[in-house]
Amino acid sequence: MQQTNLTINGQEHALDADPRTTLLDALRNHIGLTGSKKGCDHGQCGACTVIVNGRRINSCLTLACMHDGDEITTVEGLGQPGNLSPLQSAFVAHDGYQCGYCTPGQICSATAMLQEAKDGWPSNVSDDLAKGQKLTDEEISERMSGNICRCAAYPNIVDAIREVAEGAEA
């Protein structure tokens, strides 16, 4: 058993778990936060995306015990029914999902992605690596391509993110 202290959505948790426990399984099986999903357990789908110290990561690809002292934000920390974050509302309004299973990962990923773009990070489709990028549809799509949606709500996901990105700019 391994003792790990995690701050999740602003709350401290003392986790006592098998060292083989992934961060994703710790959240889902030990802490009872099942918002983060397991689509592949191998870093191939993005359903498990959470935000660790401000950066999006695949929580299935990292062990919980490697995160002692880390700040973790999951989809539950972004908003709740009745108190949705701008991205959560936009996903509902634009039908940015169907089955909803990839959705928490998409929303965590998009939340961190908007910040990355704001901070001037380039992507694979950016023309210029040094200059900040305007979030065109192509930029949004590229930056969200680590989050698979088998229902294929991609056009609506892009609409939802674009709306929030533009709202933040205005």
Binding site: R28, C40, H42, D95, C99, V125
Partner: protein, 730 residues
Amino acid sequence: MTRHLVMDEPATKRVLDELPQSLTGKPMDRPDGPEKVTGTATYAHEWNLPGTVHGVLVRATVPKGKVTAIDKDAVMKLPGVLGVFNDERFLRNPAQGTANEAPIQGPDEIAYLGQPIALVVAETFEQARHGAHRLQMRYDVAADGVFDPEATNVPHERPEDDQLDQGDLDAAMKQAVSVVDQVYRTPGHNSAAMEPHCSIASWEGDKLTLRGSYQMLNYNINELADSLKIDAEDIRMLSPFVGGGFGSKLGISAEAVAAAIASRELGKPVVVALSRQQVFETVMRRSESRQHIRLAADADGKLIGLGHDSLVSNLPGEDFYEPVMQATHFIYTGENRRMNMEVARVNRICAGSVRAPGEAIGMVALENAMDELADISGIDPVELRKRNIPEMHPETGQGYSSRPFAEALDEGARRFGWDKRNAKPAQTRDGEWWIGMGMASAARVNMLKEAKARVTLNADGTATVETDMSDPGTGTYAILTQIAADMLGLPGDKVETVLGDSDLPKGSGSGGSFGASSSGSAVFLACQDIRTQLAQKMGMDEDDLKLDGGKAGDMALADALAGDAIVGNGHIEPGETSKDKRQATYGSYFAEVGVNAVTGETRVRRLTAVFGAGRILNEKTATSQCYGGCIWGIGMALHEELLFDTRDGHLVNHDLAEYHVPVNLDVPQIDVHLLEERDDWASPIQAKGIGELGLCGAAAAVTNAIYNATGVRVREYPVTLDKLLDQLPE
């Protein structure tokens, strides 16, 4: 009371169009949306019952043979391990959709590599996974496994009811002015729903509760009962949220039975989730196909002959085969016809329903052949299709119910700007990209299934809709809410829809695109039942009852109810209208692609699709379904392919890193347009199915556009760059 309707007559009274309210059809947000976007929707794995222990399946490492020994003792000694289970009731194959009985059981008889054999249960997931990796099994390996459906040593069967020989196709081919005679191949596909299959079993005495991820509880409960040899009355299944199905969760799979057996023995809740690799290797695959298409056309491009022969595969003993020619039978004319189905029996993963079984691949090959015919005959592809729309079913002589096929073709061409296409291939360049346009028709059979629902008009003037129906992302929560709201004159937020509980009235299940129209009709009938009772209670003629904005006439509904709730039951069954008319849904796809002249990579630049599916129940969720279908089409055209090793039948690319489904950047913004249509023959709400139509031909629009861009015809899907590279024009 129950309002029961057998669909023997067309529903010419369009009740939903006559109501004062018209929420049905509107792009209402899904009521289940806030739960989905906040991670509070409860999927199968997420009930966190106290004391739950974890199970991991162990599977065959040989393709055929018998299990002779399982070394349970060594694994039982590992920390945390509670049990190693291997039971003759374990499922060898998953259940086919609507099976309603146990699938093939007996895990010790191995029919394919990766078949589930045993379950290791431990206190934690990590311990169970370790135990599963460590479990040693010994086999008596059989040498007579066969793995290549096209190999000569493989037994082939010809299902009797899928053989057609009408007129003289050979003579028509000789007599024709233009002919196409080509073989197309499509590979196997996996549904790859994002939520891996999972079941939590818990027992109280003899009563089993199974929380699973299933599309059709109405059938699943009987499949589970029959597999476990217990009564269905002793089982409750819960599936309020299903993280995608696409056919893979139509029938029960191995984890459900294994969890139930282990839980019974251990006296604790047991959760068994499939890994992604196990989803690929133990649930349904779509069969690969070899399709031989022959088209014989006269000087006007009118078909005088149409041949479509298919070879698909499945495990020995499975009745299901991919019904490849399903739409070919009715979509185009041509009096001389031959369509023969052949099924190869191979030791590969079970083949079953993957979204739009039949049309998903059959329409694609047919639409490629039609494109070749257009090219050869010099007739515009849109015009060619319009000339071949039959007046009557070319085989049965049936008429058609509502069929806005030509309209979909014209409207799609108009929206896309088809008139700008250069019919001559390899003429347009944009930098290093060859640009081309292609189109294809869409068609899918329409079905109505028996369904029941209960609606309660509560004393406070709100309503509750209840059925065991599922919502695997299809929008069931939304559309049932909308229908009930309109029928009872309530705002959408005054209606609560409860789904996915087998204790509720049996709906149709979600599959074959019939879920919305069937369950929607049951809800519609239940509301009619309420309206009758309410009119009686208010002492008025039902025709005079006006329900709108939470009021009955001028009276608030709660006052009209005077403290009593009214319960309405609805029950729909298919009837003569399914036989009187060929019912189907139609559409068109128009694609623009760029093919990279240097690398051979194809990018879809634009996609326009127009669909007619009867009354649209929710424009937003229906459009999303169509996006999904079209994007599956892009995947089929360019990426998706199950690769089997022909030496032992093992699936080489068994996860999302190796089996490539489209990602966000693979997909352009898509223009989906839904036609205004009512089909009185289809259902009392004039709706048909739309969940699969988006896929039924879509890939052909992309590959036809690749031909237009480059002049290269690839007849083996998917069109990966290696198949284009050495043939690209200079």
